[in-house]
Amino acid sequence: MRSDRSLTIVTRTLAAISAAIVLLIIGFLLREAAPALRQLGLSRFFTDESWHPLSSQFNLTPMIVATLVTSAGAILIAAPLGIASAVFVNFYAPHRLAVWHRRLIELLAGIPSVVFGLWGLMVLAPIVATFGGSGQNLFTATIVLGLMVLPTVALLSDAAIAALPRPWIQGAAALGMGRSAIIGWVVLPGARRGIGSGIMLALTRAFGETMAVLMLAGNIVEMPSSLLSPGRTLNANIALELGYATAGHRSVLFVSGLMLMLVVSCIVLLISHRRGHQA
């Protein structure tokens, strides 16, 4: 039993370390953002006229909206396609094709965001541009972002589905249920937890993605009026301006990082709260 106790201690310590990293990062963000927060207060980041940090205008609201829109859109694309892929691999595809499908999706996971960005810029944006403008807008960014987070949904759903006990499916089939009914009534509910966590992870990944969105979203800081209007996300804002920012401006950019963390935390808490109610 001594080895059991040491196992518990070791694993719990490791878990505590993993959890502490996020505190370290938030602490770091707070330290860097503190001068701006102290000087400007929080409200100016929502009430100012526009975002022109060098002319002391610090409105972050349009960027928060753009971040939410692109991430939510990406999930709307990635979730059905990802779950369908997982179902396809497990129930529809011939064995050989299933293996290759899985492999291709794993490959998709490793393509650098710069390459996605380049593809979007050279191939997709000119196609979207036929609807007018430069083709660099929230729509293009959302599509590419959706493709980027798709492997996360697909691979985690795949793992969750593959892990379902075989007898469930065999039992359902023995009851005379059709394939689609088995998937709808047995497989998807059974793998709900894994699929949910895949979508969750994909959502947070979409929030955190920087480079591809920066290359495709057009980066205008304005309240988006339609899906085809350009917009700038919080992280693109950091990546765009940070390298060239001086003291005060830099601190303001960290506030936008902090804001992103705040949005993500709210969503995480909301989802885990809802899950708690369901259970």
């Binding site: 080895s3 059991d4 996020v22 490959l107 650098p112 969750a160 593959a162 689609s180 969750m200 992870l201």
Partner: protein
């Protein structure tokens, strides 16, 4: 009566059949469009980049800011960064995942909090990871711009994915296995290493592959930690440029570097394919051995 019964069942049958066809078509369309898009992207990279690649490109030094020469040192640095990242993140996340799943069925408050903080960690923008790594590993811990700083930063970054996937993998092991093993009087440690981990291995490996993908694809976090130097690293404390940083630099900073950027992307995708194939192969090996031992005891 009897007649109408068969009629309704036939109607239901037809309806079932129609739904079956619809779902099948939908699933195939979705899967095929995913494959189609992916092949589109891959061929785009290949068409623009493959012509530049030969053996010399893979091993020689970079010349003229990357417009000429090869990417030998960059492949080496990438490998080392990945190694540091995995050596740190795999034990950390497997341990965490074990702690998170230690009680079957019910959730401890500790596990709940850890999971929440990891979910928030997953949403940190990569550039913030870069700045954090720069401030913490490179400056506070004094590691400087080095492969070690880069690897550690990436380890923090892939933690949420690796822990999530490992947790799913462990959770997916049927509880009956553990009950049975416990009933045989096995210790928890023994159950973990003899029963749970072997069964969960394929899913654990899938998580590792996903994390490698994420790590290989990262640019912004590495720019500020492992750096930009394209020389062959002599130790883990040397700065080394990763493949994705090289692609970014060629595509966005070096005029006329486009073709080489695509060539480097080809190499990156090929490397990833090799890693995936190797993992699949290793898994098949362990899987075969696993099955044969159980076969023997039966």
């Amino acid at each position: 009566m009897n007649d109408s019964g068969t009629a309704t069942s036939r109607v239901i049958g037809v309806r079932h059949h129609r739904r079956e066809v619809c779902v099948t078509v939908a699933v195939w369309t979705a899967a095929m469009s995913v494959i189609g898009l992916l092949i589109w992207i891959l061929t785009d990279i290949a068409v623009r980049g493959l012509a530049e690649i030969d053996f010399g490109f893979l091993i020689s030094d970079m010349q003229n800011a990357g417009r000429e020469g090869g990417i030998g040192p960059i492949i080496l640095s990438t490998g080392l960064i990945l190694l540091v990242c995995l050596v740190v993140s795999i034990p950390l996340s497997f341990g965490t995942a074990i702690a998170l799943t230690e009680r079957i069925g019910q959730e401890t408050g500790f596990a709940c909090n850890v999971r929440r903080s990891l979910d928030v960690l997953a949403g940190v923008p990569s550039i913030v990871f870069g700045l954090f790594g720069n401030a913490f590993f490179a400056i506070t811990l004094g590691l400087g711009y080095s492969i070690l700083s880069g690897g550690l930063t990436l380890a923090c970054m892939v933690l949420p994915i690796l822990i999530r996937t490992s947790e799913q993998a462990l959770r997916a092991v049927p509880a009956e296995y553990q009950y049975a093993a416990a009933a045989l009087g096995m210790k928890r440690t023994t159950i973990l290493f003899r029963v749970v981990l072997p069964v969960a291995m394929p899913a654990l490996a899938a998580g590792v592959v996903l994390s490698i993908g994420r790590a290989l694809a990262e640019t912004a976090a590495l720019l500020f930690t492992s750096g930009y130097v394209a020389r062959s690293p002599e130790s883990l404390l040397d700065s080394g440029r990763s493949l994705s940083v090289h692609i970014y630099d060629l595509a966005m900073n070096v005029p006329g570097g486009g073709a080489r950027a695509y060539a480097t992307a080809c190499v990156l995708v090929a490397l990833l394919l090799m890693i995936n194939l190797a993992t699949a192969f290793l898994l098949r090996m362990t899987g075969v051995r696993h099955r044969s031992t159980t076969g023997g005891t039966c």
